[in-house]
């Protein structure tokens, strides 16, 4: 029995190693081929090592343009979606009101609708109302699918929030506005920040909904989709690798902050005793 348990233990470890290998394999391929020096238009086979495309990452005008359009949209989307979603999350967690269930449902539904249906329905709206598709309609579409994710993220943070802190501030003479700005906001700010980053990432990544609402505007994923047929330039691999490194970096910083905080809280609690 003990032997079987030990075999099971090691089997799970082996499985986890293989599992992580599977998850990271495409990223390794993307990174590896960002250093490739392909002979023709297709970056499929390893030809030789070069740093050229890391140096010339913005050298292709159409790609640079598409990337900047995507970043601009993602910035605007993250601001608008974060404001709209945070307000809803505040209402849902802090207030009991008639229609709360319906609001929860309306938040849940866009997340459980396939992107192609969201995109198709938005295009149906714009066609029927005669709205020309382009930068503005991409923006409207992206905010729509990001709001729900903001609500969920901020709600998770608000739920673990100690309301006594606010009552204490009020007892000490702070008014509602001051309490919100000095106590509530700083406490929920990490949640809001995470929600804004998530919206940014979702918007930057989106192809399916953008494809329906883009008109003639070319975003970064739309550029890749077009290039996929004729050969994707190596620079796309460079940008993919950079996105991975930035995502890991931001999340690692988040983890480090929460570890430091937890340690400080424990030290404070020990000191108080």
């Amino acid at each position: 029995m003990r032997l079987r348990r030990r075999i099971g233990y090691h089997l799970l470890t082996l499985y986890a190693v293989i599992g992580f290998g599977y998850i990271l394999l495409p990223i390794a391929v993307i990174a590896l081929f960002s250093f490739n020096d392909p002979a023709g238009k297709y970056n499929y086979n390893w030809q030789g090592f070069t740093l050229q495309y890391w140096r010339d990452v913005l050298a292709i005008p159409a790609l640079r343009e598409a990337l900047f359009v995507s970043i601009e949209i993602a910035l605007l989307v993250s601001v608008i979606a974060t404001v709209l979603g945070t307000l809803i999350a505040l209402a849902l967690v802090r207030h009991a009101f008639r229609g709360r269930g319906a609001t929860n449902l309306l938040i849940f539904l866009p997340m459980s609708t396939p992107e192609i249906v969201l995109g198709a329905s938005l295009l149906a709206l714009f066609l029927n109302l005669g709205v020309a598709t382009g930068f503005g309609t991409i923006l409207l579409a992206h905010v729509t699918f990001c709001v729900s994710f903001v609500v969920v993220t901020v709600k998770a943070r608000l739920t673990g929030f100690d309301r006594q802190l606010e009552e204490a501030a009020m007892d000490l003479g702070a008014n509602v506005t001051r309490t919100f700005l000095r106590v509530t906001l700083p406490l929920i700010l990490p949640g809001i920040g995470a929600a804004a980053l998530l919206s940014f990432a979702l918007s930057l990544d989106d192809f399916v909904i953008t494809n329906f609402t883009k008109g003639t505007v070319v975003t970064f994923p739309v550029y890749i989709w077009g290039a996929a047929r004729i050969g994707v330039p190596v620079q796309v691999n460079v940008i993919g690798t950079l996105i991975f490194l930035i995502a890991v970096g931001i999340m690692a910083v988040g983890v480090a902050i929460s570890v430091v905080r937890a340690r400080r809280d424990r030290a404070l609690a020990a000191a108080a005793r």
Partner: protein, 285 residues
């Protein structure tokens, strides 16, 4: 401010108003227009009129039945594959991650921040005919000498499985993470057999996560068209490929809308049956 103090009940409504108006106009109203367009007839030159042509639905169901069936099949296989791959992996992180738990989770999630299309193109490279995997599989005889992986159903399902992996992994992780490890130790003492302890304690506790994960994987997988396009051939096309090409290439808006509504109805029916089978409290709980 004075108004709010006199009418505290208005506060939540003022907070939700901007977001709900937005979702009302850009999520609910569009679904109405999608349904309405699906009953129109006409063409792009003469224009489309509302004629309540239900034939769009029968045309869709008859002409594109293989794609509809394929969508259900591919999504179901990919969902099961993702469950089989994800469960032990997140179990490992939740139970054995220790102080590295958070960093392992970062490593699990970060790949999926890389642009979806770039990730799918990486699978194109991995599964390519001259690629490493096909070479090894040919050598050990699992793939015939002239056999391929790319441009097959396998490639499409593999792509879908990978791309929606976090939707399966994260809910299960949350469910496993929330429960007390001491419960398992106590269970281990009582049952002695680790397999029975797993079946009696861990598995039931993680089921809500499995339930949520299957839904959040299956739903987007049903509507996917990117994997079939980049990793498959027209022989692997799914209903998503039909909807997007009818909308954006052929510009037959009514037929395309009928396809999108059918997809939505299929998914809602699937979710309903699944929830009935497992008990509805798991859906919201």
């Amino acid at each position: 401010m004075g108004y709010l103090r006199r009418h505290p009940r208005a506060v939540p409504y003022l907070l939700i108003a901007p977001g709900l108006v937005w979702l009302g106009f850009l999520f609910v109203v569009p679904l109405y227009y999608l349904a309405s367009t699906s009953l129109q007839s006409g063409d792009i030159y003469a224009g489309f009129q509302q004629t309540f042509s239900w034939s769009n639905y029968s045309d869709m169901a008859v002409q594109y039945r293989p794609q509809l069936v394929r969508s259900v099949q591919y999504a179901a296989i990919a969902t099961i594959a993702a469950l089989v791959i994800a469960y032990p992996l997140v179990y490992f992180i939740a139970r054995r991650g220790g102080q590295w738990k958070s960093l392992l989770l970062v490593l699990l999630v970060a790949p999926f921040f890389v642009t979806y299309l770039i990730r799918t193109l990486a699978w194109q490279t991995i599964l390519a005919d001259e690629g490493l995997i096909v070479g090894v599989l040919r050598d050990i005889g699992l793939v015939a000498e002239d056999g391929r992986l790319l441009a097959t159903s396998f490639a499409v399902v593999a792509g879908i499985t990978y791309n929606y992996f976090p939707f399966m992994a994260l809910p299960i992780y949350v469910a496993l993470e929330q429960f007390d490890g001491r419960l398992l130790e106590a269970g281990g003492d009582l049952y002695a057999n680790p397999v029975r302890a797993f079946l009696r304690i861990t598995l039931p506790i993680s089921l809500p996560g499995v339930f949520a994960g299957t839904l959040t994987t299956f739903i987007p997988a049903m509507g996917d068209f990117v994997n079939a396009q980049l990793l498959g051939t027209p022989k692997q096309y799914m209903i998503g490929n039909v909807i997007q090409s009818k909308f954006l290439v052929v510009v037959d808006y009514p037929l395309a809308s009928a396809g999108a509504v059918m997809l939505m109805v299929l998914i809602l029916a699937g979710v309903f049956l699944y929830a009935r089978a497992l008990g509805t409290e798991r859906l919201t709980g």
